[in-house]
Amino acid sequence: MPRSMFERYGGFLGVSRIVSAFYDRVLDSDLLAPYFETVDMRRLIDHQTKFMVQLFGGPATYSNEQLRQVHAHLAITPEAYGEMMALFRATLEEAAIDPADVAQLVADLAARRPHIVAGAA
């Protein structure tokens, strides 16, 4: 069996570094930062890391229904979502993730758009 991205990119530690770098970008974005003003970042980073671990093919599971529930009250706009995707891609590229893997991760995350953006489903 081919090794998962989770294994190839350093397991939990590797993913955790990517998430951390990603949120540095997100919180510096004028468009995105307001969404996080009242959020307990420790909890968010924890969930986000597990979610990323899942995207990388590692041991964690979040259902689309869970994604929908946690994002429903945030009224995320298509613009904010687009910005987030751009930052996500930039973070992955900076972390020297293989372009084919970047494409797959971005596509996987894009497939979940209807569960994240308000009124998209």
Partner: protein, 349 residues
């Protein structure tokens, strides 16, 4: 070339650590580098104690005594809250005492700590699930093999066949089960059989016997395997009498009547796991064969045994001679019927 003082000043302003110098009594900020002011705003001339609630009387006391104090504080200079670790310590500057404050951004550390904790909990939860699964699997395996054999497999991966010098084996089946099985509703029949075998299991366990297997309406139990005991024959005799008494009581109030035949043999036995994928624990030996031959000789509700068993239990049980019987594989063999215990048996299922 840059002179040292200018270099120091530049360094002070550009490091990622927040630095401040306070007056020792009032904790008024006399100097703060750029990072410190980013986090705390314009603090020069204000007391840090006003800004940081964690600087309480206790902390001030320790500082006055010349010690150092470590504190947690959270600031929100922009949209994003930052967790700071503050270290306050006394120092001499020329001949005046000052308090030096170092502030470090520990947000990432807090996030990681939280994540470690959260993962530890996730692992713990998975461990609990695994443990439950393991217990369930163990319980299933203990249904098909004795605990000592299971422990051996668990420790070594295999269980070696074991020879027991002497053990007593009981074999039971029911008179007319086959016609009963075809003439009655199968679920009801199986449920009754299940009832009866469950009662037998309880009795067997009570007397240090081990149920080896059931096959259709046949029930096999042994004493002396896998743990040798000098009382194997007595144990099986007691169990046999109680099996019969249980059926007698049951038959008084219910149809159909279940009539058993019980053969008992004593002799050397080999106990072993048989099979790789679908394994069962089974026993082999002349005692097993003898029990099987005697069982086929039995009339309804009769318990037959050989002379070897009879001699072992003679002091405690009443038996009756059934003469010489020609048993396949054994030749002419003296056979005895077990009638009752000389003392009342303690257990009522």
């Amino acid at each position: 070339m840059m002179d040292l003082a200018r270099f120091n000043a530049l360094l002070l302003e550009s490091v990622g650590v927040g630095l401040a110098v306070l007056e020792p009594d009032t904790l008024t900020v006399r100097f703060a580098n750029r990072r410190f002011q980013e986090w705390f705003g314009s603090v020069i001339g204000r007391s840090l104690a006003e800004l940081v609630p964690a600087i309480d009387d206790d902390a001030r006391g320790r500082l006055t005594a010349g010690g150092s104090v470590a504190l947690q504080h959270e600031v929100k200079p922009a949209r994003r809250a930052i967790a700071l670790g503050l270290q306050l310590s006394c120092a001499e500057q020329g001949d005046t005492a000052v308090v030096i404050v170092e502030a470090q951004n520990v947000s990432k550390l807090r996030e990681l700590e939280y994540m470690v904790e959260s993962y530890a909990q996730m692992v713990e939860k998975q461990n609990r699930t695994l443990r439950r699964e393991k217990e369930r699997a163990e319980k299933l395996l203990l249904n098909i093999m004795p605990r000592t054999v299971y422990e051996e497999i668990k420790a070594f991966g295999v269980a070696a066949p074991q020879r027991y010098e002497t053990a007593t084996i009981l074999l039971l089946d029911f008179v007319g089960f086959t016609p009963m099985a075809v003439s009655r509703e199968p679920t009801a029949l199986v449920s009754e059989l299940n009832d009866i075998f469950t009662a037998f299991d309880r009795i067997a366990e009570q007397f240090g016997c081990e149920r080896i297997k059931t096959a259709g309406d046949a029930y096999m139990a042994v004493s002396g395997v896998p743990e040798p005991t000098p009382d194997h024959a007595q144990n099986i005799a007691k169990a046999a009498l109680l099996f019969r008494r249980y059926l007698e009581k049951r038959n008084q109030s219910r149809e159909p009547r279940w009539l058993c035949r019980i053969g008992i043999g004593t002799g050397p036995v080999v106990g072993s796991i048989v099979g790789i994928q679908k394994y069962v624990y089974d026993i082999f030996g002349p005692g097993v064969n003898l029990a099987a031959r005697l069982e086929t000789l039995c009339g309804p509700m009769e318990i037959l045994l050989s002379d070897a068993t009879r001699r072992l239990i003679a002091a405690e049980f009443r038996t009756a001679e059934r003469g010489l019987q020609d048993l396949r594989g054994f030749g002419p063999t003296p056979v005895f019927a077990l009638e009752a215990g000389l003392e009342a048996l303690p257990f009522e299922p």
